[in-house]
C-alpha cells in the first residue's frame, strides 16, 4: 500500500489544484482573522467556511481524481496487488493531502492569531469532515461509472447536508409543533454529519444561542460532556460506515 501511496501523493502534490486550494483557504482565513479581532467570532466565521467549503471541494476533488485515475487503477489491478490495498492507498492519500491542505490553509493562519484550545476543536472537526467527505465521494464515484451521475449525486448530497436538511427540519418543526419532537430532533441531528460538526464546535464554544432547536435538544438529552463525546462518536461512525461500504464495492467492482 505504501508503494502506491508514495506515487499517488507525489502526483497530487505536483498538481496545481492542491496549491490553489490551500492558498485560497489561507487567504480567506487570514482575512477572517484580521477582520474579527475576537477569538470566538473568528472560530464561528471559520466554522462556516469549514462546513460549506471543505465538503464541496472534497467531493469535487476526490471524485474527479478517482474518475481521472480509473484507467490507472485498472492497470494497477493487473499487477500482483490486492484490491483492498489499492483502495486504501487511494483513500489515505486523498485524505492525507486534503487534511494537510486544510491544516496549512486554515489552522496555520488561525494559530498566528488565536486561542490554541479553540483551534484544536476546529482542527478535529476539519479532519473529521475531510475524512468523511473523502469516503462518501469515493463511495459514489465507485458506484457510478458515469462521472456526470457520480458528481451530480455528490453535489446533491452536499446541498442536502449543508443547506436543505436544515430547511426540512425547520418546516417539520413548524408544521408539527404540537407534537413532542425532542427525541426525534436528537435522532435527526445524528443523521447529518455537517450539523454534528457544527454542534461539536458550538458545544466547545458554549454558545447556546447558536445551537438551534435540534442542537439545544441534543445538549439537553446528553448533557455537555456526553454531547461532545456522542457527537464525536457519531461522526466517526459516519466516516467508518461509508468507507467500509466503498471498500466492499471496490473489491467486487467490474472495471
Amino acid at each position: 500500500m505504501r508503494k502506491i501511496m508514495k506515487y499517488i501523493i507525489r502526483d497530487i502534490v505536483r498538481s496545481k489544484f492542491i496549491f490553489f486550494y490551500t492558498g485560497t483557504l489561507f487567504l480567506l482565513t487570514m482575512g477572517i482573522s484580521y477582520l474579527n479581532r475576537d477569538d470566538t467570532k473568528t472560530i464561528i466565521t471559520t466554522l462556516n467556511l469549514i462546513i460549506y467549503l471543505i465538503p464541496l471541494v472534497n467531493i469535487l476533488y476526490v471524485s474527479l481524481h478517482y474518475y481521472n485515475s480509473k484507467e490507472f487503477i485498472e492497470t494497477l489491478l493487473t499487477y500482483p496487488v490486492k484490491r483492498k490495498q489499492i483502495f486504501r492507498a487511494e483513500y489515505f492519500s486523498l485524505t492525507l493531502a486534503l487534511t494537510v491542505s486544510f491544516i496549512m490553509g486554515v489552522i496555520v493562519p488561525l494559530l498566528l492569531f488565536g486561542n490554541v484550545m479553540l483551534i484544536l476543536n476546529l482542527l478535529i472537526s476539519g479532519i473529521l469532515l475531510t475524512a468523511l467527505f473523502t469516503s462518501i465521494s469515493l463511495l459514489f464515484s465507485i458506484m457510478y461509472d458515469e462521472r456526470i451521475k457520480g458528481i451530480g449525486m455528490l453535489i446533491g448530497i452536499w446541498l442536502f447536508m449543508s443547506i436543505i436538511f436544515d430547511g426540512i427540519i425547520l418546516i417539520m418543526y413548524f408544521l408539527m409543533n404540537d407534537f413532542p419532537l425532542d427525541k426525534i430532533s436528537v435522532i435527526l441531528i445524528a443523521l447529518n454529519p455537517v450539523d454534528l460538526t457544527r454542534l461539536y464546535i458550538l458545544i466547545n464554544l458554549d454558545i447556546a444561542s447558536l445551537f438551534g432547536y435540534s442542537g439545544a435538544n441534543f445538549i439537553k438529552f446528553f448533557g455537555h460532556a456526553y454531547g461532545l463525546a456522542v457527537s464525536l462518536l457519531i461522526s466517526i461512525i459516519w466516516i467508518v460506515v461509508p468507507t467500509l461500504i466503498a471498500a466492499r464495492k471496490f473489491n467486487k467492482k467490474d472495471f
Partner: protein, 232 residues
C-alpha cells in the same frame, strides 16, 4: 496455459458474452478479433481479473486467477490507451511498475532502448504525445519477461516504425510466451498470429489455427467473411 471454463457475462438485456470452454496455450500468439461491441474488451477484462463473470471462471496453472496471485506475477498487460498519473515523471512510472511487480533482475530493455525511453525519463507523463505514452506502455509490458502478455490494440496510436518494432518484438518473444492481443487491423492478424479467435455478438464465431494451410487456403475466405461482419 489459461483455461476458460464456460463464462457468461451480461450487461442488461443488450449484451451477453457467452464463451464455451476454451484453452489458450503456450507458446502462442493469439489474436482476438471482432467488430465494436462484440465482447472483446469484456472477454479481455475477464481474463485480466478486472471483470467478474456471472458464471464460470478462468484458470491459470490449474488455479482460479481471482484466488491466486501466481497469474498476476506472470502477467503483463498493455491497455489500449496508456494512462498513468499525469504529474509523474516517466522514470517514476517505470519505478512503480518495477516495485509492484517485485521483479528485481534480468529486465528486458530491448524495446525500451529501441524506443529511446532513456531520453524522456525526466519528462512529465502529461507532456508526452499519445504515441510516446504507448511506447512507454509497450516497453513496460515486455520488460518483466512475463510468460503471459495481453495487449489491447497494441499498434493503434503508434507510428509505422514504432509499430514495426513492436511487431518484431512480438514475433521474437512468441517462442516461449502466450501473447494474446486484440486488433482491428487484418494485416496484424496474418503477420503475427498463430491462432485467430473471432468474436461476434458475445460468441466465438471462428477459432482457427493459422498454419500454412490455413493461411494459403482458408484465410482469405475467413478474412472476407470477417470483413462482412465489420460491414454489418
Amino acid at each position: 496455459m489459461l483455461r476458460v471454463n464456460k463464462i457468461e457475462k451480461s450487461y442488461g438485456k443488450k449484451f451477453r458474452l457467452d464463451i464455451e470452454n476454451l484453452t489458450l496455450e503456450h507458446p502462442n500468439v493469439i489474436t482476438l478479433l471482432g467488430p465494436n461491441g462484440s465482447g472483446k474488451t469484456t472477454f479481455l477484462k475477464i481474463l485480466l481479473g478486472l471483470v467478474n463473470p456471472k458464471t464460470g471462471d478462468v484458470e491459470y496453472k490449474g488455479k482460479n486467477i481471482n484466488d491466486d496471485f501466481t497469474f498476476k506475477y506472470d502477467l503483463s498487460y498493455m491497455p489500449q490507451t496508456a494512462i498513468y498519473p499525469e504529474n509523474l515523471k516517466v522514470k517514476e512510472i517505470i519505478e512503480i511498475t518495477k516495485a509492484l511487480k517485485n521483479h528485481t533482475e534480468d529486465y528486458d530493455y530491448e524495446l525500451y532502448e529501441q524506443y529511446r525511453i532513456d531520453g524522456i525519463l525526466e519528462s512529465k507523463f502529461s507532456s508526452l504525445s499519445q504515441g510516446t505514452k504507448q511506447k512507454i506502455a509497450a516497453s513496460i509490458v515486455f520488460m518483466f519477461r512475463s510468460p503471459v502478455i495481453i495487449l489491447d490494440e497494441p499498434t493503434a496510436g503508434l507510428d509505422p516504425y514504432a509499430a514495426e518494432l513492436l511487431k518484431s518484438k512480438i514475433l521474437k518473444e512468441k517462442k516461449d510466451k502466450l501473447i494474446l492481443f486484440t486488433t482491428h487491423i487484418i494485416s496484424d492478424v496474418t503477420e503475427l498470429s498463430d491462432r485467430l479467435i473471432f468474436l461476434h455478438e458475445g460468441k466465438i464465431k471462428y477459432d482457427k489455427i493459422m498454419n500454412d494451410e490455413f493461411v494459403n487456403r482458408d484465410s482469405r475466405l475467413i478474412i472476407s467473411e470477417v470483413a462482412n461482419y465489420f460491414r454489418g
